[in-house]
Amino acid sequence: MRLVSLEVADWRNVASAQLDTNARFVVLHGDNAQGKTNLLEAVWTLSNLRSFRESRYQRLIRHECDSVQIDGMVVGESGRRRLRWARSAASRTMQIDGQNVRQLRDWFAVLRAVLFCPEHGAIIRGGPVERRSFVDRAAFTTRPAHLDVVRQYARVLRHKAALLRSRKGGRVQVESWNSQLALLGGQLAARRAAALCDLSEPFVEAHRAIAGPRSGVATLRMRGLGRAAPGERLDPAVVTAQFIEKLSTGLDDEIRQARCLVGPHRDDLVVDLDGHPARNFASQGQARSLVLALKLAELEAARRQGLAPLFLLDDLTSELDRSRMVRLMEVLADLKNQVWLTTTDPRWLGPLPGGDVVSYKVAAGRVEPLSEPPE
């Protein structure tokens, strides 16, 4: 799929912009605080119906304005589709070719994206929350139905937590929520394990390609209730049975401590570098390369399912050294996906594959096409 045009109105600091983006590479460059990330965020919001850095829609609307709108034309497996997303205090619009969307999966079938931004260093060096959401997102990228399982599991978990906190739920009530938690938890863990199977081998490859052959072997595994070795798939029924077991032994503790103590919401993705957890040992640049490898693995896993999400890279240049950067650009050149890049200094990107690049200069929320690829 390719986003061949993008139009925004009163989005962040951009009053109005119209970008013709029918190219394999779309480069947005400009100084700090001009609106580069804002535009990438618009593409992401169009593909995910939410921002990656803001949950309150009010902040997405340009100051002193009442509503915001993003339009995009996608050319993909299902032909040309026009997407419109708009938000105001009074209304919320999601339209494909002028028709309101009834099922989110219809929307996600049109446009999908994978994002890399500087904050994603936290996937390697931060807490388990970031890593779990990476796995859930990767699972969603290839199988959007994963989102329903994640949401339902989270909802049951929140009900159970509220029940435990109220200290009014007897065992029978807690057990009723536990039965559901176990069913959904089994599915959640099995889906994550499946996602990990899809990611593992592409991850090793992508990491070698970016970091170079001498920089160690990086591997992935899950830890916790849904633990699985690389390449191992889990049977949801088996995980559910184990989970039920743990829930019943833990029941008294959970009631006493008024907290949910067991379940895949506490699982973690372990990224090892030569057998040592990268979380504790990776340098800044190593962490950056590992995150890029995770994202490239996500793209490759999607490709094997016949999908080609957009690849959005924000502020790439800040932390990779020259040789890693050159190798990354070679990897990007070999992809089939449309790639969006933001940078303060296009020279860092080096030469992009000729002919198939559009560049825009972003300054104070205004977007101007550059006819010449930036020198």
Partner: protein
């Protein structure tokens, strides 16, 4: 000075859920253009609603009398009791024309996040019915969402020890759809394919 009658009517109609100013205006003009007994009949029905509608003391359905006509009907099968969240859900099951048992309205579903526990629902009266009447099967027709499912599981845990079968409406009704809005054939299918829990 009396308020403009049309404006007053629009104002009152627009208090209804899902009715905006535009729809309210359209409705008011439509009523104005009908023979005057249309508006009068509607007005009478509305003004009598609170005086005449009662909660059935047995099943908690909204009805003209208590016990309601279904609870008072000796033809209806005592052995199967269908548990629903809302009075409106009874209509969805009745429309299939295939269910001949009795009903019990819970008044919602378990939702600790919203402070709804068993005490907020008509569960005590349900248990009383089970001990007073020869019920053999409790068919739980709560919504197919996490709250409806948890409620079904909870009822199963409460009721099963007494030897009563507990069944759940099969998920022929798509997830997240309230029974009230599900189409007739999918409700009929869900009834037919109910499973024991």
């Amino acid at each position: 000075m009396a308020a403009d009658p049309l404006r007053r009517c629009v104002g009152q109609l627009s208090r209804l859920p899902g009715i905006g100013q535009r729809t309210a205006t359209r409705l008011a003009y439509w009523l104005l253009n009908q023979p005057d007994d249309v508006a009068r009949d509607i007005g009478e029905a509305l003004s009598e609603l609170h005086d005449t509608a009662v909660r059935c003391e047995i099943c908690h359905d909204v009805a003209a009398t208590s016990p309601c006509h279904r609870c008072a009907n000796p033809q209806r099968d005592h052995r199967v009791l269908c548990v629903v969240e809302r009075p409106q859900d009874i209509g969805a099951i009745e429309r299939t024309g295939t269910f001949e048992g009795r009903y019990h309205v819970l008044g919602g579903a378990l939702a600790p996040l919203d402070g709804v526990g068993p005490e907020q629902l008509n569960i005590r009266s349900l248990l009383r019915r089970l001990s007073d009447q020869p019920v053999e099967e409790v068919l739980v027709a709560t919504d197919p969402d996490v709250e409806g499912d948890a409620t079904a599981l909870y009822l199963a845990r409460l009721v099963r020890p007494s030897g009563v079968r507990v069944t759940r409406l099969a998920h022929g009704v798509s997830v997240g759809t309230e029974l009230e809005f599900a189409d007739k054939s999918s409700v009929a299918r869900a009834l037919e394919n109910r499973r024991e829990i």
